[in-house]
């Protein structure tokens, strides 16, 4: 392996797996202030456009017998609607637009991020942290508004023996506050990992001897990443539903 690397130095075998996550201004310069149009902004805009195409343009026919485009929109709608109904319950349907927003946004962004030379917003800790903390604060506030101090019963496990309840309460509180961290790191980490691995394989493709293997690896990873892109959007949404269920029905 070391010999290979030595031999490859001349041909430029250098790994920059993380460069694809750099935020850069679109129109030159290096300053990134809060309003600068960057590649992050471009791909967020494209994500919104993709959501618009699928959910609005696709369903413009309003046909009773749906066209293909309309079927996709209806499928997404039914998928999230049923998820909320199954996991959280019928009383959570009022939060359906927000959960649908999360799902469609993450899904479209994950898939757009898989386009070569694109920018994956969901691989950015800043982005996923905002998404996860929005869910965390929303769920906490909903819990306190709906149940007042009864919401704290979530941490006081009445089904356990009295002696171990304080210990359980500490564990529950810690796990409650770790939720947004794991919620955001899971999404960003998955997308980062997949993209970085593809990039590493791509670097190996520069070696003639390894290139067939590398291209095969890229293809396989790309297929896996398509799956991960969907599953991570699904997992993020379903965990949001689970947390919301805790807020709406805090009894253990």
């Amino acid at each position: 392996m070391a010999d290979n690397a030595h031999a490859a130095e001349g041909t430029g075998l250098v790994f920059h797996p993380m460069d694809q996550f750099k935020v850069q201004p679109l129109f030159g310069g290096t300053d990134v202030s809060w309003y600068t149009p960057t590649n992050a902004m471009l791909w967020l805009a494209l994500t919104v456009l993709a959501v618009f195409l699928v959910m609005v343009v696709g369903t413009r026919g309003r046909a009773v017998i749906p066209s293909r485009g309309q079927s996709i929109g209806e499928l997404a709608y039914g998928f999230v609607y049923k998820m909320i109904e199954d996991v959280t319950g019928k009383d959570a349907i009022v939060y359906f637009p927000y959960i649908m927003t999360l799902f469609m946004f993450i899904l479209m962004n994950n898939f757009l991020g898989l386009i070569p030379a694109s920018f994956a917003n969901t691989a950015q800790i800043a982005v996923t942290a905002i998404l996860a903390f929005a869910v965390f604060f929303a769920v906490t506030i909903i819990g306190f508004v709906k149940h007042g101090t009864h919401f704290l019963g979530l941490f006081w496990v009445t089904s356990a023996p009295l002696a171990i309840r304080p210990v359980l309460a500490v564990i529950e509180v810690i796990s409650y506050f770790v939720r947004p961290v794991s919620h955001s790191i899971r999404l960003a980490g998955n997308i980062t990992a997949g993209h970085a691995v593809i990039k590493v394989f791509a670097a190996f493709a520069g070696l003639v001897a390894l290139s067939p293997l590398a291209i095969l690896g890229i293809t396989a990873m790309y297929g896996l990443e398509m799956l991960v892109a969907f599953i991570q959007a699904y997992v993020f949404t379903i965990l949001t539903c689970v947390y919301l269920k805790d807020a709406l029905h805090p009894s253990h």
């Binding site: 902004m41 959910m55 309003r62």
Partner: protein, 182 residues
């Protein structure tokens, strides 16, 4: 080992141009930008979905549900009608069958009556003819017996006369009558 450190230096050199070496995700100076645009994108997505897309899809799904329900009701009605028609048909068939049976019975009775009448008449005729014939036969028989007695008496008288006997008419008649009876 030297190679790896060289690689790491190359990585570091590559990042030297950028403000922060290492993970671009941790470049805090880009957070403001990302978060701002993210919030804009999220609000835009939320508005698109909640104002346009979701009500529209919900309406389409409700309309489809309604159409399906209506169609099922219509199909149910048609099925009911078909059942009614079938029942009417069965009824008509049964009626026709009873009627046909009645006609058959009536015809059979008529024919039987005619036949009986004809048979009776024929029987009567046959009986009359038979009686007539019997009478004729009896007459013929009576005539024949009388003639035979006559012939026998005459023959007997002639025979007695021929044999030289004295003809006693009364005794001959008695004797012939007795023979004829015997």
């Amino acid at each position: 080992m030297a190679t790896e450190s060289h690689g790491a230096e190359a990585v570091a050199a590559g990042h030297a141009a950028a403000e922060s070496a290492g993970m671009p995700q941790l470049a805090v100076e880009t957070f403001g930008n990302q978060i701002f645009w993210l919030l804009v994108a999220l609000v835009a997505t939320y508005l698109i979905l909640s104002r346009v897309a979701l009500p529209r899809i919900a309406a389409v799904l409700a309309e489809r549900q309604g159409t399906i329900t209506n169609d099922i009701a219509a199909a149910e009605e048609l099925k009911l009608k078909a059942k009614e028609a079938e029942a009417a048909y069965e009824q008509a068939l049964a009626d026709a069958r009873t009627q046909a049976n009645e006609i058959v019975e009536a015809t059979r009775a008529d024919i039987k009556a005619d036949l009986d009448a004809a048979l009776e008449k024929a029987d009567a005729e046959i009986a009359a003819k038979a009686a007539e014939s019997e009478k004729a036969i009896a007459e013929i028989r009576a005539n024949a017996a009388e003639s035979a007695a006559e012939v026998a008496k005459d023959t007997a008288k002639e025979l007695i006369a021929a044999l030289g006997g004295e003809v006693d008419g009364r005794s001959v008649t008695a004797a012939v009558n007795a023979r004829m009876k015997g």
